[in-house]
Assembly symmetry: C2
Homo-oligomer: 258 residues x 2
Amino acid sequence: MRITLIGSGNVATHLGAALKNAGHQIVQVWSRNLQNAALLAYHVKAEPIDRLDAIHADTDLIIISVKDDAVEDVASFINIKNVLVVHTSGAVSMQTLEKHFIDCGVFYPLQTFSKSQEIDFRSVPLCIESTDKNSTEILFELGRTISNQVTYIDSAQRKTLHLAAVFACNFPNYLYSIATKLLQEQQMDFSLIKPLILETALKVQEFLPEEVQTGPAIRGDEQTMAAHLSLLEQNPELQEIYRMLSQDIIKMAKSRSA
Amino acid sequence: MRITLIGSGNVATHLGAALKNAGHQIVQVWSRNLQNAALLAYHVKAEPIDRLDAIHADTDLIIISVKDDAVEDVASFINIKNVLVVHTSGAVSMQTLEKHFIDCGVFYPLQTFSKSQEIDFRSVPLCIESTDKNSTEILFELGRTISNQVTYIDSAQRKTLHLAAVFACNFPNYLYSIATKLLQEQQMDFSLIKPLILETALKVQEFLPEEVQTGPAIRGDEQTMAAHLSLLEQNPELQEIYRMLSQDIIKMAKSRSA
């Protein structure tokens, strides 16, 4: 396919590389900043542009991969109307594009991307949504050229999926940073618990998280929980997090055994 | 070394196998339940026993690997006094053993173990503590035969380490289970976010968690956070978790940029 990339951030970069590697042609890369456009365009052998009215009409797909709150704005400046247009956002509904385009959809890669971290795109689930059956088929076919897991997810589901991703990724990462600080305060290195973090994530690749819950809360070990809370005496915020999550784990244990 | 294993749970099982594979001799395996002792003893070619007064004196090391709150009780029934005795618990201080033995210490493998999940013991950090220099050396030497990461951690540090492990393992796993439920309620499969969970854990193997924090809270994306909270309207407990963790992430972002 001939593809136009709108955006040059983390998602656009990884997605552009994956599409290029799968044999598709990236015709143009747009960014507000021409230097950023040029950097990605160089890697995917495309033309860099910084004006949305410079987009060629002879493209098969326009992928808008910009910050969530910029999708609507960018869409309103794209004047090409006969081309399928998708965005890559987990949080933006398809309706946002329907106001501006006849054929549109969503092409949401459910993963956390950093430019510095390589990623095997084949293992990234792709969530597809579209206004009509024909476009859905095109997006599924395109998706399968770069990912092993392509799924139809409607806008309502995607909202929940995005929320679930916050619980599964952003919040755990924040808890990792709490662990880091606790260790540093006692002159211990974060690397001590890296294997534990990795194993915890590996376990749920095979088992349901509820089945492999461990720790003092699920065991109902009041003594250890009290000791932990007293260690956190100087830090009421962390105490609060500890107390709340432990209480909810205890409730989960009770409802499961009931 | 000639080693006596007290316990037949997850830690004893994985540790016993690793020690046996490294060429050590497991002489006896004790469990309150003779069948459990026999099962592990069979795997490590040891004698199963269910009475603590049946422990042979001709052993180099006794490893107490039972539930945290049983360590003291078990220790009080071991009558052999000239042998080095360690426990494997993150939460129990060394003092608990000092009441009963002259030579004692801690041999704490910092990992989450399940019997059903194989583990590469070489990547499990071993935390060593001991009453004297000679025993410390023996435990370090033993530790290095099964693990690539052997560290001296005193009882005060180990308390904090255990607490940090709750934040790095038990709590994230609980958040995974919340994500599972959110997805199930909208007819989506948990497998959709498994790659995201794994990538989040992989990222912090290379970067500090604070450096790779993503999501609406760190971006200060009020609109998305409000949308997420309204999705959780039927579930005040999850709203509370969402609100508290997001607020703390926002604070972290502010203190970092200040």
